[in-house]
């Protein structure tokens, strides 16, 4: 009885120490990535390649989801607003919810599952097939050659994807609200422009998406780099990337929103 209790306590302690250890390793990994990112700007074609893989190839899913999210916002917003006779505020509703929240957050969630999981799987497999060790043997630092370009590729792609998401979402809202339902076009745009502030809303949305880009890419890279070099280990790491980075995006979103939009 006492033995089992002690074993349970030991197990908890072991897990806590392990988590703290991993945290420290992740922090050191992140700092090393930043420290070695000079190479990814000197040899910019490496970063361009990663922007292609994580940014350009995510375009389709981002654009299609953005369009549909905007159209749903248009429909649902109209449903609710017309009860109060204020369907002219539809543009404001669609634009503010996309620019402030849905654009950065949904684009980051899609980015995590589309590009983050691919980054983890790729680096995990590179590790499992000992390509990373081979690089070290050839005196090529894998963090400078493999990790840093992927990091900057993700950080550059993310705000652009979020902006595209918001823009196409507003267009989707316009399609449903103005073209399909027949809300007045002038009111739709003018109320939107009156309510959306460049610095308060748009710049804050871009800041959010940059932060999400850093978080998602850093988590994906670390999970891949830290994955046990087995098929099972890589598959677990890929799952963990999607789960952890989605939770991180949502938690960071709350913190950033609390700082940015405090009772204005």
């Amino acid at each position: 009885m006492v033995e089992r209790f002690l074993a349970a306590v030991r197990g908890i302690g072991h897990r806590v120490v392990d988590a703290v250890w991993r945290m420290g390793y992740a922090a050191r990994f992140f700092v090393a990535t930043l420290f070695h990112s000079g190479a990814s700007f000197r040899r910019f074609h490496l970063t361009i390649k990663e922007i292609y893989f994580s940014g350009v190839l995510s375009l389709i899913i981002i654009l299609v989801s953005g369009l549909f999210v905007g159209m749903v916002l248009g429909l649902q917003g109209y449903e609710t607003l017309q009860k109060y006779g204020s369907e002219s505020a539809l543009g404001t509703l669609v634009a503010l919810s996309l620019v402030r929240e849905l654009g950065p957050v949904l684009a980051a969630l899609l980015f995590a599952s589309r590009a983050g999981s691919a980054i983890t799987a790729e680096i995990g497999l590179m590790k499992a097939t000992e390509q990373l060790s081979a690089m070290e043997m050839m005196a090529v630092d894998p963090i400078a050659r493999v990790v840093a370009p992927r990091f900057w590729g993700g950080v550059i792609s993310m705000p652009l994807l979020a902006a595209l998401f918001s823009a196409i979402g507003v267009f989707g809202g316009y399609l449903v609200g103005v073209v399909l339902i027949g809300v007045d076009e002038g009111q739709f745009w003018s109320q939107m422009q009156a309510a959306v502030d460049f610095r308060e809303d748009i710049v804050n949305g871009v800041i959010k998406s940059v932060v999400f880009g850093i978080a998602v890419t850093a988590i994906a890279l670390f999970e891949g780099y830290d994955a046990p070099p087995t098929a099972e280990g890589v598959s677990h790491a890929t799952t963990r990337t999607v789960v952890t980075s989605s939770l991180a995006v949502l938690a960071l979103d709350f913190v950033l929103t609390a700082f940015m939009f405090r009772g204005v």
Partner: protein, 156 residues
């Protein structure tokens, strides 16, 4: 190093992303309409500002001429001190009247400026002396009930 098709795609992606940001700034946001013009600062004291908020519009004859910059409670006079920026293009006489109005029945509140007839104009840092507070629904109902009660007494 040669140019590849990948570069073309990445270039197109970056251009599209930047274009989306510009669309957001100018078509969705207010950067295109009213921002870069120089402003001057006025302030006014109100008994009650109701639901007025920072960044609420300042209108004259229905045209937006400025924005509310700051709202504070003055502990000396026990009144609300509202500072607002007005576009330099628009000048108002010294005896301009500042009211807190509501757009629509449930809309947001804004400051309405009614120009007076004074030959001199308001300058940066001036106080708009004549103000009218926001209409508070509870006070209005209270006054209505009071006047009804007074009428009832008179009829007796």
């Amino acid at each position: 190093m040669e140019r590849t098709t990948m570069d073309l795609w990445v270039g197109a992606f970056v251009v599209a992303g930047m274009a989306a940001l510009l669309v957001l700034a100018f078509k969705v946001g207010n950067l295109g309409t009213f921002n870069n013009n120089e402003t001057y600062r006025l302030w006014a004291e109100f008994e009650n500002i109701g639901g007025l908020k920072v960044r609420a519009p300042v209108k004259s004859a229905g045209v937006v001429v400025g924005r509310v910059a700051d709202i504070q409670f003055d502990n000396q006079t026990f009144r609300a001190r509202v500072t607002f920026n007005v576009d330099k293009r628009y000048q108002f006489p010294r005896d301009t009247f500042a009211k807190i109005l509501t757009s629509g029945l449930l809309g947001e509140q804004y400051i309405g400026l009614d120009p007076g007839g004074d030959p001199e104009n308001l300058k940066d840092g001036d106080k708009v002396a004549k103000t009218q507070s926001a209409v508070v629904l509870e006070n209005l109902i209270g006054q209505f009930l009071y006047s009804k009660a007074a009428e009832g007494d008179g009829n007796k």
